[in-house]
Symmetry: C2
Subunit: 276 residues, 2 copies
Amino acid sequence: MTKRTVFFISDSTGITAKTLGQSVLSQFDNLHYEPIVIPYVDDVKKAHACVDRIIQAEKADGLPPIIFDTVIDRELNTILAQAPGCRFDILNTYLKPLEIELGISSSERVGKAHGRASDPEYKDRIDAVHFAMENDDGANIHYYDKADLILIGVSRCGKTPTSLYMALQYGLFTANYPITEDDLDESSLPKHLKAHRAKLFGLTIDAERLSLIRNERRADSRYASLRQCEYEVSATEAIYRRYGIPFINTADFSIEEISAKILDITGVIHHHHHQP
Amino acid sequence: MTKRTVFFISDSTGITAKTLGQSVLSQFDNLHYEPIVIPYVDDVKKAHACVDRIIQAEKADGLPPIIFDTVIDRELNTILAQAPGCRFDILNTYLKPLEIELGISSSERVGKAHGRASDPEYKDRIDAVHFAMENDDGANIHYYDKADLILIGVSRCGKTPTSLYMALQYGLFTANYPITEDDLDESSLPKHLKAHRAKLFGLTIDAERLSLIRNERRADSRYASLRQCEYEVSATEAIYRRYGIPFINTADFSIEEISAKILDITGVIHHHHHQP
């Protein structure tokens, strides 16, 4: 077992450093590490404080820390370079070759990675989040013409977190609707879903896992029983097959993976609806 | 003006390739590019299809495409290397030096970046999303003892998207509560918020921008008028100052930036609450 401290240091949010660093480190099965994110390192004092924390970590671990950083300023970079450890200066790895390829200089300004509140693409994401909230769990069935995507599935199979992620990350107007026992007994899609069949995407889950999740909510209920979960899951999958609705099992994947697979399978993109 | 096609290619979701690539490219002010994400490139046929799309893009643009990829398999990597363009093989840039530093081999298995549904940290994120949904917009004030963070602010200042992002990204149980005119007229925090003052974080926004946002929802209403927005914003900021509640202006920042700043300012972390 190897135990290290890993620093993700940024002059902005730290999201890029952490996303990249975690992705790379996930390739090392036996690595146990303590992640420390230090965002907004944007002055000399904060850069020196980082170096101090890295020195402390090295002393405590008896091993050099791993450092992923996205600090663009040259002076701050020079300070960070004094820290002990194995350092990956992410931006500078890519900027120099890109400057040569593109024939233009990089701006070396901080905090530009996540867009501005005034960008249209950003506004879509915020509007999509409100849409997902207002059209969660079948709360509203009258705005499905505005939806880019409608997720369906049994209660607690992962519809809500997936809808919100699709909205936040991709700006997709995502509604979700629970398949209930009434629908299952008739082996039929509800009428208001049939009208939007091309927007439907099904989620399913292993019955055992569903039973565990439901037991946390309502312990020892019929709702949470393995028998009930098995019935709902198999009857729901039968509906998906009958209507040719694409679906995936949420038990094996993270929301990020589920969402990327839905995009890949459906090719859905956001359609703008103009206000009347 | 430079126009390029930029490919983000992955054997998994493509999130790492896109996050890193966009962050790096945001440093080039005058670069106009067409982003193309190709996820789940996990067999020889899909890798060849990628190469074909890259060749097409080069022909159409008359310039070599930029390629960011996280494809771990060696055979697929060799195929992608045949594509024209300026390619950044992200994982391999970091894996080799890390193998040497850590003294262990990387697993070279795909799709490990976003955690598994069975990880406790992942479960916290899902539970946090449900908490944020159920405690949105003051819908529920009886579970604030379970909240890690309570965002407050006037209607439409950005509380809901920020709460959901804090939940999804960081697994923080985040509630939010709207400051209403009644609260403002008394220049006082509602009683049920006073009891949790240490968990409060304020959002504010420019009155002009708030008026624009509210006009989209209820055009030409008193609610959306600039005068009303100015009153609510200044009275709310007065409450923040009176009670020493930290706050930030959402007009200038993306949700990612707002969330990272809240974490940085408050140092909030998720506290586990055991079920009775």
